[in-house]
Every structure is written in C-alpha cells, then in structure tokens.
C-alpha cells in the first residue's frame, strides 16, 4: 500500500529511483512463481472462453458458430424489456435476494457464537453435526419435504390447522393453502433456504472463533470481563474480517436467485410473486434454444452484481480504513 500514498515524484525517494520496481519484482520471484500455475488456470479457463460473451449481441446459430452468427446489436437486450412483465421479474428477484441476504446472513454468525460460547460440549457437538445434514439435501427433495410439511390437510401444517379449527380459533372450513399463497411465497422460500444452510454456514465462523487467541481471552477475564463482554469485545472483533469478506462475496450474487428451487415451488396462484428472472430465462430462453437471449440477460445480471459488489467493497474499505475490503 506504499505506492498509493507516496505519489510524489521526488527523485530522492528510493521508490522513485530507477530500477526500484524491477528489483522489487525480482526479489519476490518465489511469490510470483507460486502464482504461475493458478494464474495459468484462470487465464486459460476463465479468460479463454470470454470471447464467447459476444453471443449476447448476436443471434447464435450452431451452424454459424460464434463468429459467424449474425450480429443483432442490442436486440436481445431490448427483447427482455419488451416482455410485458419484466418489471415484476426484476422486483421479485431483488426482493427475494435482499430478503435472503438480510435475514440469512446474520443467522449462521449468531448461531456460531452461541455454539462457541456454550459449555455443554456434548450438546453442542450433537447439534452441530445434525445441523450440517440439511445442507446435503438436494433442492428437489427439499421442495418435496416442504410440500409435504405444509400440505393443508395431510401435513404437519394441516394437522395444526385441524386443531385450530377444532378449537374454533379459525373458521371450520378454513383450509388456507399456504403453498399457493402469494404473500407466503417469499417467506417459505427464504426461510426454508435458511433452514437448509444455517448449520453448514456456522462452520467457517466456528473455525475463525476457535482461532481467536486464548491470551486475549485470558487478558480480558483478568480485567473482569464477563463471558458476554468477551463475546462483544474479543470474539466478534476477531471474526470481523471473515464476516466482512463473506458479506462482500454474498452481495456479488444479488441478482442470482437460482431457478431450480423457485421453479419447483411455483404454481398458478403464486406466480405473480414467484416468477424471477432465472425461471423466465429457463422457460423462454433455454426451452427455445435461444442461447443468445439467455446470454444477454445473464450479462445484465452480471453487470448489476458487479455494481453491487464493488459498491459494498468500497463501503467496507471506507469503514475500516482499507482493512476489511476484498480488494
């Protein structure tokens, strides 16, 4: 970070003297060598295919290949905005994304803190191990379980409704179908996702908490801090860099609500709230082999994701004097 601060052209400064940069580079040859293989991978496999991005501006036909396909300019992008419901798509996508971020991000952190603080080692161990399992349940199964649990007559939810009906708390022919409710869709989607991911999400934070220096804790205890105070002043600050990085990385996915789970949870009644960009692309893009169209929409998503991640990174850097940023 030296070069950023000292931009003066004073020839007496060693940084501005001839050959300084080259010498520095030479002396770091081992580090540069370490980077060779990973960089090679990235250049070949990430940058290599990038020329393919242009199919968003073409009308891709396999026979013509990428270079030979007709150039159509911004037509693919315009087509998206010609879809009469495009505003709903964007609204739904962003709403779900932000909801997921705001509700789902803090929970693994909080849980990790509780698990770390608790003295009941056996209970903690059992709970931890059990809580990882939902992460492995595939989307298809997850939605199946959701449908079964919330079935208004035969499911867990249905049984509760039955009891409520029997005690006249709700009217006796109230079979409110929560799975087809527009209002409930986002909640069901987000909270089932949180349920699935929260246990697994604690792993990273628990590892970071375990790495907190015991000496810091000792020092704090000697100073008379209770466990709770220690959480606030030792544990949390130490894992702040991890939290920050994870948040920045997460915000780079703001437009990426994956299609599969939404598609499985969609039905005629909740479609106004459950149609997101990815399901739309899946249904109208892939189904008709309109790869260019899908690519254009994907690029727009990426652009928005980029803006988000750069913005959040900028804010994180500003708040922490450049420490907490990703780059």
């Amino acid at each position: 970070m030296v070069s950023k601060r000292l931009k003066s052209k004073d020839p007496d400064l060693v940084y501005n003297q001839k050959g300084y940069a080259w010498n520095k580079f030479k002396s770091s040859w081992q580090l540069q060598l370490m980077l060779v293989l990973p960089l090679l991978y990235i250049i070949i496999f990430h940058y290599g295919p990038m020329y393919g991005i242009q199919i968003a501006w073409r009308n891709y036909r396999a026979r013509d290949g990428i270079w030979g396909s007709a150039w159509v300019g911004w037509k693919n992008f315009q087509e998206f905005f010609a879809y009469y419901k495009w505003k709903t798509l964007v609204k739904n996508t962003l709403a779900i994304s932000f909801y997921q971020l705001l509700a789902g991000f803090p929970i693994p952190i909080i849980l990790a803190l509780f698990l770390h603080v608790s003295n009941h080692k056996i209970l903690v161990k059992i709970t931890q191990n059990v809580s990882y399992i939902p992460h492995f349940i595939s989307t298809v199964i997850m939605v199946g379980i959701l449908n079964q649990v919330f079935n208004p007559i035969t499911g867990f939810y249905g049984h509760i409704m039955k009891v409520l009906r029997q005690h006249k708390i709700i009217s006796s022919n109230n079979y409110y179908d929560i799975l087809s409710s527009e209002g409930a869709f986002r909640h069901l989607y987000v909270w089932s996702g949180i349920w699935q991911a929260m246990g697994w999400g604690t792993i990273l934070y628990i590892a970071a908490l375990a790495a907190v220096s015991p000496e810091l804790h000792e020092a704090a205890t000697i100073d008379g801090a209770s466990r709770w105070k220690r959480v606030l002043h030792v544990d949390i600050p130490t894992i702040l860099p991890t939290i920050s990085i994870m948040f920045i990385l997460r915000s780079g996915h703001i437009m990426s609500v994956g299609y599969e789970k939404v598609y499985l949870m969609q039905n005629k009644l909740n479609i106004n709230k459950s149609e997101v960009i990815s399901t739309y692309v899946y249904k109208y893009g892939l189904a008709k082999n309109k790869l260019s169209y899908g690519s254009a929409i994907g690029l727009m998503n990426s652009a928005i994701n980029s803006v988000m991640i750069i913005l959040v990174n900028f804010i994180a850097n500003k708040l922490s004097d450049g420490e907490a940023g990703l780059f």
Binding site: A62, N151, R165, N173, Y175, D177, S180, K268, L269
Partner: protein, 547 residues
C-alpha cells in the same frame, strides 16, 4: 438350352426381386452397428443387457451402441446443444428427445438432422410400415399429424412421430358426487348448474358428514389435465379448449376467451370460489395430494369413518385421485350431465431424428421402421412377451368392458425392470392399459369403479356430440419466421389470458365488475391480440389451401 435356362432364371430372379420390393417389408439389417442416443430412465437396470434391446437387435438385424443423455429433457437439450456447438459427433439416431418444434426445425434447417422426406415419400417401399400404421389414425389426427410433420416453408420432414391411437381416456373427465351425502340431505342428483350450486351450498352448510363441524369441501379438483375443474366449468358455458386458444366459425377464427359466455363461466366459478363452494386448492394441488383429501386414512381393518369424509364433488381420473381399495370410493357416484371439450390424448410427438453424422441413413431408417410394428409397441410398453405379458385368454374382458387383448403377468411399467427402455414415448403407443389388459379377479372396488365408468361412458360421448361445435379447428402451424417474429406477442397474450383466468376465478379480479373485465380486454389488445389473430388466420387459410 443353357441360354434359355439362364434367361428363365433371370426372369424368375427379376420377378422375385420386384415382388420382394412390392411387399415393401422392413429389410433385415446386416449386423452393422447403429449408435443411438436416448434419455435414460431411472427405472431401467441396464440398457445393454435389456431384453427389449436384445429383441429389437434380433428383429432388425442391427447391433446397438448406446449414448446416454440426461433423463430430464431440458438437460438433454443442453447436452446436445453443447455437442453441436463444439462440433462433436452426434449419435446416428436420437430417440425420444424432446426438443420442441422450433428447436428441431432449426437443427434440421442447419443440417444437423437429416431431411427424411424422401424416405417418407417412398410409401410403397421404405416407409410402407409407417404409412400402414398411419392410416389407422382417425382422419382428424392424420390431418394434424401431416401438418406438423411437414415444415410449411420448405416441405422438409425432420422428425419421426409417435402414433398414438388410444381412444380418449374418458376416465380423465369423470366427475363424482357424494351420493351418501345426497341421500342424507334428501337431495337428488343435480342436473343443471343451478341445481349443482344448491347442492354445493347444502354440502357446505348442513354438515353432511355429521361431525358437528362445517369442515366439508363441497367441490375440488386438481391441477393436472384430467382434474382441471376450471376447464370443466367453462365448458358448461362454451366450447373451450385451452390448448387451442382460438375457436372457429365459418372459416374465421374466434376468440372464446373474450366472449360473454366465457365471462359467464368465470362468474359462475368465481361465485363458487367466493362462497367457499369450490376450493381454490384445485388450482395448485396435484393428483397425489388430492388423493389424501378425498380418502381418509383407513384403520387396521381397512374401514373408514364417515365423519372423516371431507369432499362433496370432485373431478379427476379415479385411479389417480382415489386411493386403491379405499372404501371412500363407494360413497361417490359418477355424474352424468356434463358435456366437455374433447381434449384429445392423441398427441403425436416428434422426438426421433436421424443425424447428419449417421454414415448409413438407409440402415437407420430401416432400423426405426421396426418400431412401427404392433409387437414392438407392445414390448416397449409391457415388456418381454411370455415373461411380463402374453396374449389374453379367449373371451376375457378388460377393465372397462372391452375385449381384452393382452394379459399382464409382471407389471413393468412403473417399476424397476430390465425389459423395456422406460421412455414414455415409444414409437407407437398402443391402447391404454385399462382398455386392453385382461383383468384377473375383479375386486369389489374395481367392480364398483367399472360400473361407474360404464354408466357414464356413453353419455359422455353423446354430450360431446351434442354440445361440441361441428366445425373443428386443428392446431395452427406457423412458419419458422412467423414463430420467431411473433413468439413474444403470442406468449405474452397466452400468459395474460391464463393469469387473468386464474385471477378472475380466485377473486383477485372481479368478473362481475365491468371495469375489471374491460381492463382485461384492453390489456389483451395492448399486448397484440389482433396481431396474433391475424397471423393465426393467415396460417389457417394457408393450411386449408394445402388440402
């Protein structure tokens, strides 16, 4: 002398050859290998050692090498798209892959799939088997199939269709009412919409299941094709076939979804939903879940409690929406009144192609012709002859009273097996199971169901005959160019129609309110309904000039 013998021999040989060609039978292969790409099915143990594979190899005289694609057709499409993009070699034959018309036409025009027209045109030779089968289809289906097989622009034919014969499975359109409750409440079987309404109100209010709670669900369906309550109701007001969108009168296309009858139908459905008579679960429930609503859990000895019965009327295919052997069935009687749109099950699908990487297309075609024999179809559907099924015993009847054709020994269809290829679309789908298979012992449950069916079967067709319009509209086929240009308009319109229908029924929009209705119509215009109509009319005129 020798010369004469030689001459005679030549003549005999030639006559023999001509006679052989005239027969137009499927030529037996020479043992060469064909590569077949298909979507795997989870239920098949091993395609290579599969009994059907062995049989078809023997029958056709070719060896098969498989290339597997994902069981989900959308993924299979991606896989093939990537193969094509990278210039990789495709298998000789793609069997049962659902691309959709636009996509396979594009691949065909670009040359990845071969134009099979010359094979199809060779009606006496290479494709005789196919056309013999084709001639067995009803006229209307033949028309439609021809329209779909031949590309309107170029006349090219890229896909081999399945040919489905089965009569409409009337069971898909049965509606049942709880006779028990009718008796208890002293009501008679409703014979009009008015009477149905009154009966439903009685179901809702008078606690016919006697458990002291008003928890009855008067009317319910499910969201699959057969339990489609909304279509059912709408068809009492006008002929409405959701898939076709348009109607036809005197050669001009009409828009049923903007008509007053349609609005009346929506009003009626809306009334039912608003007053708690038609459950809105009907729009989102699937058949399996509906089963759970209709059939209460049985106790250890297989009995149910009358007070646990919740449903008054329901629509749906009884074998799907009623738990087998659940005594709840006996409470219900099939209703006889309703007319319905004849939504045909005879959808030909176009999922088999010969690719440009095929070295010997003649061989591939010969091989595929083997699928159009009756035995191939039966084997593909029912398994190995003599092991999983066999010819029916003399004089036995099928489940719905027709003469049985086969008897099933081992049910392979939805179970793990190694005697079929598992894919749902075989090249010919023969009769529906409940029409041709011999029933062994008729349980009380099956017998009851059978009786319900036979009582309504004839009336169903009579009602369809009486109420359905005489002028029939078969599917409109657009050119590739038209499809591309107007696809956004068409999908926007269709989407708006469908969403609005749901909204009107559930009450989000009010069909009684003129402003809501007019707004619906206006939006439809804004989205380009007139354009769609004119394009479709043009296509229709064009199709009829083809005749």
């Amino acid at each position: 002398m020798k010369r004469i013998v030689a001459l005679v021999l030549c003549v005999v040989l030639m006559v023999g050859l001509i006679a052989g060609c005239g027969k137009g039978g499927v030529k037996k292969g020479d043992g060469s290998t064909l590569k077949i790409g298909l979507c795997t099915s989870a239920l098949i143990e091993d395609y290579d050692t599969n009994m059907f594979t062995k049989w078809i190899e023997e029958q056709s005289g070719y060896k098969i090498e498989f290339q597997f694609f994902s069981s989900q057709s959308s993924e299979a499409k991606s896989q093939i798209a990537t193969m094509i993009a990278a210039g990789e070699e495709l298998p000789d034959i793609l069997w049962g892959v659902d691309f959709g018309k636009e996509v396979y036409t594009e691949y065909g025009d670009d040359g990845y799939f071969l134009d099979l027209k010359e094979y199809f045109d060779d009606k006496k030779g290479a494709s005789k088997v196919f056309w013999d089968r084709f001639a067995e289809l009803p006229e209307e289906d033949q028309d439609r199939a021809m329209r779909n097989m031949v590309n309107p622009d170029s006349g090219a034919m890229y896909a081999l269709p399945t040919l489905q014969y089965s009569e409409i499975d009337v069971m898909d359109y049965m509606m049942f009412i709880n006779q028990d409750w009718l008796n208890k409440l002293g009501l008679s079987m409703p014979n009009s919409l008015e009477e149905l309404y009154n009966v439903l109100v009685a179901f809702r209010d008078r606690d016919p299941n006697g458990n002291g709670r008003k928890d009855e669900i008067p009317f319910i369906g499910c969201n699959s094709l057969s339990g489609h309550v909304i279509n059912y109701i709408l068809n009492q007001f006008l002929y409405f076939n959701e898939e076709k969108s348009f109607g036809i009168k005197d050669g001009k296309l009409t828009t049923p979804f903007t008509s007053n009858e349609y609005r009346e139908g929506l009003k009626y459905a809306n009334k039912l939903v608003n007053e708690g008579l038609l459950s809105s679960l009907s729009l989102t429930t699937n058949a399996t879940t509906l089963k759970g609503y209709i059939c209460p859990t049985t106790d250890a000895s297989g009995n149910i409690n009358d007070s646990d019965i919740l449903v008054g009327c329901f629509v749906g295919h009884p074998t799907l929406v009623i738990e087998p052997n659940n005594p709840a069935l006996y409470k219900y009687t099939a209703m006889n009144y309703w007319s319905n749109s004849v939504i045909t099950n005879n959808q030909q699908v176009y999922r088999t192609f010969i690719t440009e990487d095929c070295e010997d297309p003649d061989a591939a075609w010969n091989f595929l012709m083997n699928f159009y024999t009756e035995e191939a179809s039966l084997r593909l559907r029912y398994g190995e002859k003599g092991v999983d099924w066999d010819d029916a015993d003399e004089g036995t009847k099928s489940f719905i009273g027709y003469d049985a054709q086969i008897k099933v020994i081992n049910q392979v269809w939805a179970n793990q097996n190694n005697s079929t290829w598992g894919n749902i679309q075989s090249t010919i789908l023969y009769y529906a199971e409940n029409e041709v298979t011999q029933i062994e012992d008729v349980s009380k449950w099956q017998d009851y169901l059978n009786k319900q069916f036979t009582a309504t079967h004839d009336n169903y067709f009579a009602a369809a005959e009486k109420y359905n319009p005489k002028e029939k509209l078969s599917a409109i086929v657009l050119t590739t160019e038209e499809s591309e240009q107007y696809s956004m308009t068409i999908s926007n319109c269709k989407s708006h129609i469908s969403n609005s229908r749901t909204s009107f029924v559930t009450g989000t929009l009010n069909p009684n309110s003129d402003s809501d209705w007019n707004e619906y119509l206006k939006k439809l215009d804004d989205l380009g309904l007139k354009t769609w109509l004119s394009v479709a009319q043009k296509a229709y005129d064009r199709q009829n000039n083809l005749k």
